[in-house]
């Protein structure tokens, strides 16, 4: 371990102020949340700071928004009240854990004083520790700031886990302690892990040998390259070596997709066949920062052999069957970029399809495939695409995203309901971007009403509801009335909320008109109710559901 750096601190800090100051120092400008009496005092502190508090309709929306914000900004914050607020974001926090998104959960809680006097305060479940115990299961670090003597050090310790390990963390503040002065001067300790340079050298040497000897090396660029801000070394590696790269669905857009070395999205049997073939025929696959999950790898239709891989993520570095201990992911990636590798030129490899202009056939009923062709022609450098699991996500696999990190989808955890509140987080994270939200009707009914929050704060995402009257991903696995959802009149939502504009889209020309009008409208959100045949789906979904369906029936 590197020796801890310390610096002297103003000993008069109050706990709440210190937490706010640290969040600001790490680039946070917005906090998403819902008030409640146990957290009102801290919310009051927030409103007096330069941080902006964004009130969502339900805590679930705040949790998803903070996750999207964290993915774009490196840290996101959700602030809620005790239990009735906190336990509503167990799922969004679990998503952040599963997909390595550094979200800070701040919860108010009963004051230290009232805990002693009263065992049955409102919002309490079993004991005062119930909420903490739940969050211990789904965060990388957690703390209850009951002791002013250690509170500042605890804040640093926990935030450090979020920043270093890219995991959600939990900070609970008893409500009588927000304004407590820290009781002594507080040394700010920042411990950075340090790898073993010898091990690193050997790992890189073995990797270099494997790469040099390879006939067809391919890089599978994972989402952790973005989380750890390693795009520059990756670009250097691509430039030096001429090796082509693919992404997974979770890491889609980790680099601009118009990069000449880009092949496309690899998700085993789900993705385009030429990408599958090129990746699986590789005799040296560099898997960098990619969670080895079932959806990422096409429900284990993937045919990847460990012998032929160089593998590195935040938990493991391995070359073939040799695992290297104490080699840091970021050191290894930077080391790869600095290797003296032969420059391969003239490598022929698959390329993503270039979007072609969408020429609508008037009156022709819209299909999923044509919808995505049209969307592909609309996506530009100011677009951040948020895709909800289902065909919204799978269909967007082949959208060409030509800006870094401008595609967001919970492609591993696959929780429905991320995309609309995610757009709230994404647009606050980068106000230069305009969200394009792709969401199924089932998912929209879970969290879509956060468009009210989007309206309240004057944001202008374009929301495309893929309305196929149900859970389309599940129908081919096992169908029943449980896969149906009520047909809301999504285009009338603006009338209900008093904001935004809505469109009903049945045909190709209606789609072209509606998208054009939505792009031109900047005074609020646009919502397109895109009516699709319940039996229509993307080819990717056909392939996925075939693989999943084999496991539903036993």
């Amino acid at each position: 371990m590197r020796s801890p750096s310390t610096q002297s601190m103003d000993p008069t800090h109050r706990i709440g102020e210190y937490l706010i100051e640290r969040l600001q120092a790490h680039g946070v400008e917005h906090v998403f949340g819902v008030p409640g009496d146990y957290v009102l005092g801290f919310m009051d502190l927030l409103t007096k700071s330069s941080l902006q508090l964004i009130n969502t309709c339900d805590e679930q929306g705040a949790g998803f928004a903070a996750d999207a914000y964290a993915r774009l900004r490196g840290l996101g914050v959700v602030c809620i009240t005790y239990c009735v607020g906190g336990l509503k974001i167990a799922n969004t926090t679990a998503q952040a854990y599963a997909e390595r998104s550094p979200v800070v959960v701040i919860s108010g809680s009963p004051g230290a004083g009232e805990r002693a006097r009263n065992p049955l305060l409102h919002h309490t479940v079993r004991t005062f520790e119930t909420q903490l115990r739940v969050f211990e299961q789904i965060t990388g670090a957690s703390t209850v700031l009951l002791d002013p003597g250690t509170a500042l050090a605890e804040i640093d310790r926990v935030l450090n886990v979020a920043l270093r390990q890219k995991l959600p963390v939990y900070i609970e503040i008893p409500r009588d302690l927000y304004n407590s002065p820290a009781s002594h001067a507080h040394p700010r300790v920042t411990v950075s892990p340090e790898g073993d340079p010898e091990a690193l050298r050997e790992a890189l040497a073995e990797a270099a040998e494997k790469i040099r000897a390879a006939r067809q090396p391919v890089i599978l660029a994972g989402e952790q390259l973005h989380r750890f801000a390693l795009q520059k070394p990756l670009l250097a590696l691509l430039a030096r070596s001429g090796i082509p790269f693919a992404t997974t669905l979770l890491s889609k857009s980790v680099l601009e997709e118009d990069h000449p070395s880009y092949i496309g999205v690899y998700s085993g049997g789900i993705s385009r066949s030429e990408v599958v073939r090129y990746v699986e025929e590789s005799d040296c696959l560099l898997m960098l920062g990619s969670l080895m999950t079932d959806i990422n790898l096409g429900i284990y239709t993937a045919n990847l052999s460990q012998r032929r891989t160089v593998y590195a993520d935040s938990e493991r570095v391995a070359v073939g069957y040799h695992r290297y201990e104490n080699v840091l992911f970021e050191d290894f990636v930077r080391g790869l970029a600095a290797l003296d590798l032969p420059q391969r030129s003239g490598v022929t490899h698959p390329r993503p399809e270039t979007p072609s202009p969408f020429v609508p056939e008037p009156g022709r009923p819209l299909t999923v495939a044509r919808l995505f062709q049209c969307l592909n022609a609309c996506v530009d450098k100011q677009t951040v695409v948020l895709a909800d699991p289902g065909d919204a996500m799978l269909g967007s696999m082949d959208l060409l995203i030509d800006s870094e990190a401008q595609f967001l989808a919970p492609a591993y955890y696959t929780s429905l309901g991320f995309a609309v509140p995610g757009a709230l987080g994404a647009q606050f994270a980068n106000t230069n971007l305009r969200p394009l939200v792709l969401v199924g009707d089932g998912a929209f009914q879970m969290t879509g009403m956060e468009l009210a929050t989007i309206a309240r704060y004057g944001l202008d995402p374009i929301v495309v509801v893929l309305n196929n009257r149900g859970y389309g991903t599940e129908r081919p696995m096992l169908d029943g009335s449980f896969n149906d959802v009520l047909n809301w009149h999504y285009s009338r939502l603006p009338d209900f909320l008093g904001a935004g504009i809505g469109f009903d889209v049945h045909t190709e020309d209606e789609l072209e008109y509606a998208l054009g009008a939505a792009i031109a409208y900047r005074d609020g959100f646009s919502i397109l109710d895109v009516h699709l045949d319940p039996s229509d789906r993307s080819p990717a979904l056909d392939r996925l559901t075939e693989a999943l369906g084999r496991r539903v029936r036993v």
Copy 2:
């Protein structure tokens, strides 16, 4: 313990079928849930059984609906997929725990076979046990049915906790085991706890002595009298003794409120002063089955002395300072009813206000007080009132509910968003009832869209949105823009959903008209957008927020 009763069982039972059979045997007819691939197989079994699966928009709605169903029927069931479904109902399950509502959580999960092969299946957070660990914190018993050899016994064990202790429980079924035959004949074991008859006798004798000697005995009838179905012994006790009774807000309507011995709702300083005085001046308070919580007891403004109480709930029986071990709550209550007590006649005590006809003053802006006067005149024996925390709940404290258990509110846990999905559960629990839903605008924005589910299944609740443009309960504690919510056009919801009717209500005559029209309309839900002055509130809320506000600022 009584010796276990056993009976021979058909050894060919399959696990999923057995679970369904046991739920039916305990009176369950409806299951609330949202599908997902890990639970599709079980949902398919459900649809083939006589149980009806009710699909909600979001899992949160299913959790609240199952809670309301459990309160009315004695057992409720919510069925969801792994993690992305289950973790969304951590909060609703915690509410069921806090308020002793027997909800069975059934979650699908990865199959035993696929767990062995694949560590990173979609929807997995940290390990396959993460969801189980979370639910261990918020349920009375939990199990994962990985072993067909013990699965049937585990189902019985866990359901027994729900039935005996009135707590939520968790049953997880790996998806490759729904259809597994139980591997051996299964003795159904029903263990009933047994109290100590000597201790019971002594406790009753001491209680009898205290009651006989008392000048002004009062019964505080708690919600557990309803959960344990002890209304008959309570009625017998009232009849034999002539002792008057109050309820708490959580137990409101445990008996018909037109009972001649009824005083009103006691919640410490929150309730009507004559009720407070009568209860607190009692020299023998019989607290039967009432959680000693802060909201129930008026945020500790309550002035109750243990010396003067006879206390019994499912966890503790005590007379004055004498605690009796091994005395069962239900035995003690039945024993009280059988005591030879002097019949007090002609006791004068406070009585709830009789609803008077509502005579609207045309054009007069509506106030909270007048709203509840009007509602009081509408409530009848077919009404089940569901009140969301906030002024919707506090204002309804003095509604006269003249049927047993027809007032439902999470008065202790006070989670916003219960009432609308609760109405779904309540009306399925008893189709003879018509829900009157009282909900604030803030709470409506969390779960109100479950009206879509209500529309889908053709139910006809009347929903009154108390629209005061924000979290009205919090404003008097500490106000800021974080207490504002966007003003939706609630009355236009029917147009958005394609179902129901809506009304805008500003004045007294508009309220009378809208309520009359809503009562007459039986083809779907009615929604009344009742516009209130943001600074207007019920006297009860004034008193509550004054007490709470003292603890927000430190």
